[in-house]
Symmetry: C2
Subunit: 405 residues, 2 copies
Amino acid sequence: MAVGPAILPVLHPINGVRLGIASAGIKKPGRKDVVVLEIAEQATLAGVFTQNAFCAAPVIISKEHLRQGANRYLLINTGNANAGTGAQGMQDGYACCSALAEAVGVTREDILPFSTGVIGESLPVDKIVSALPAALANLNDNLWAEAASGIMTTDTRPKGACVQFSYEGQTITLTGISKGAGMIMPNMATMLGFAATDAVVDAELLQALLKEAADLTFNRITIDGDTSTNDSCMLIATGKSGVVISKENETLYRLFKDALHQVMLELSLAIVKDGEGATKLVTICVESAATQKEALATAYTVAHSPLVKTALFASDPNWGRILAAVGRAGIENLQLDNLQIYLDDVCIVEKGGRADSYTEAAGKKVMSQENILIKIILNRGDISETVWTTDLSVDYVTINADYRS
Amino acid sequence: MAVGPAILPVLHPINGVRLGIASAGIKKPGRKDVVVLEIAEQATLAGVFTQNAFCAAPVIISKEHLRQGANRYLLINTGNANAGTGAQGMQDGYACCSALAEAVGVTREDILPFSTGVIGESLPVDKIVSALPAALANLNDNLWAEAASGIMTTDTRPKGACVQFSYEGQTITLTGISKGAGMIMPNMATMLGFAATDAVVDAELLQALLKEAADLTFNRITIDGDTSTNDSCMLIATGKSGVVISKENETLYRLFKDALHQVMLELSLAIVKDGEGATKLVTICVESAATQKEALATAYTVAHSPLVKTALFASDPNWGRILAAVGRAGIENLQLDNLQIYLDDVCIVEKGGRADSYTEAAGKKVMSQENILIKIILNRGDISETVWTTDLSVDYVTINADYRS
């Protein structure tokens, strides 16, 4: 199941990025499961990684190499997460990097590895290394869509986004792909995102822009709060357009920032919509909170409530569940009388109880939609936050209970 | 579905407590839905209540009357939670108390009201008041089992516990009942517990004992973290045995404390075992944590992880899910290398990865049991904490999605 149509937009090439894809037979023979992403010299890179205390080996290595190297290649495999694999996992990750480095004539630190798939099984280094010649042989700048398929695990659809904008007669392109069926991959490790632009952005600014965009997109989606050990999101700026992004040129900076935000939002919402068993895309806006912390605590408590999520699945305007979730979000001195809750533009809670104007029919109508907005107005300050989530369906349980049996 | 046999133990009467039960027809005609619990004069009372910011009206009133009154009666209804009902809800709660007070010749503050059932609908005061004469007419000290049924909502079985112990030739009895199918009642408000003893315990000590016992029992069970607006747990000491519990008599104090803990534990585990859709009772022990906070954060993160819970449902020893949940529990500087995880006595994780001695068959055997222990040893200090939970089954979603449709 997934929400909305499975349309992959046109993914324009980024001058300075080439992609190669091959079959290593990691989990299924013949499946495209290795992607090599080649980055032009002089490009800048930025990365954000999982906050899980148990980073997978490829995350540890990528963070290390991102600090050390003049990074030229991303090496991505699906089918095995190389997570929970101890010292051997680190050796295996390094071995794959070294093999690719040798094949293309760079150093090991120039390679960033990414793995997604089953946790706790050894990375099949030989299979991956054997697939490298084929991947390098088909390096091409127009394979983003194929790469989007090549990094899938239990995803039901490839995910990509592309935004172009013009500035003084020049076109700047941002293209990205992502994978993950929520944060919630069964025994899988999970979210990967790769985006690139032909703009010139220095490394420090690129990292700041990625961090800010990820915080408002990838870090605001949740299916059930199960953060994986492998989550990684990379942003590459090849500089090939010659258009320089800097804070000095405010107009251009704003245009670029908005375009980046849009690409990242589309990539992350694609993950939510492909969430396991998902039938609804749910936007939770918390408005007029006193602090960001309480806004997010409220939004996530509602987003993670199994009772709210099953009500969403049932298209049931069961507003007491939303109210109860807000009430247990841990906000001090929260006054029920000041709280308002809306489903789209239907007010369900105000003045300490059900809104006078509320009718079950109006609530039911919103809850039956595929896209639902839950707006919670705390009336305590001027901070707003938005998170996105899905419903909790019978299919979610079936998928996650059946996965290894 | 529920875990284990549905056996209600013998619930011995408590001298000084009488119960009366009647049908008010709140939700279903003929259903016993009103319980009056009469408490002898000179008894002491203690109570612990929901931490949800949106307390239901009966919780607010009970807390108020507990401070003010010489409490003589508990008035409990099922079928309507009188929650999310604003100012009208408070009036309705007071009206029921006043009616009972008048009927028995005490003041309103001597009555503590408790409601459980649907949120957001007005309390049917007239129906409840009409049922009071019948409830008072059958007041009897041997109706604990009937009262356990009388406070049920979607519970599939009545819940009660009784412990007796002897001290210097005297028998002290503790009897209790509870209701709730987890914290997770669909649109219902939820957990109620009522226990009584014939020991003499002064009010301050009784409150401390109840708080301590509740923290280790009722406050350590979770189905999905959805705390209700109505959770209440009361402890009554009638004093009729004449046996005085105080810290001066350490032996007797310890005996009483242990008996109270046992009654509360049985009452709370009965709720978990009757959790919606539950097929497993899961005990999560976190050992050698540095602080209570990190022990509980770890235990609850595992207990609330939908991926862990669906693996439990599937009897799938999917240890990577447990590891990933521990990793996202927010513990600073957690070292994977020092961590050990056991399923019963089967070591699944040590030295940074899957234990060498681990076999899938051994893991599968434990996961197939109805009672499962997940032991997580952090090796950071000397604090241990235990929480209890259930699996997440297809039935859980079905029950909660179908409830109002």
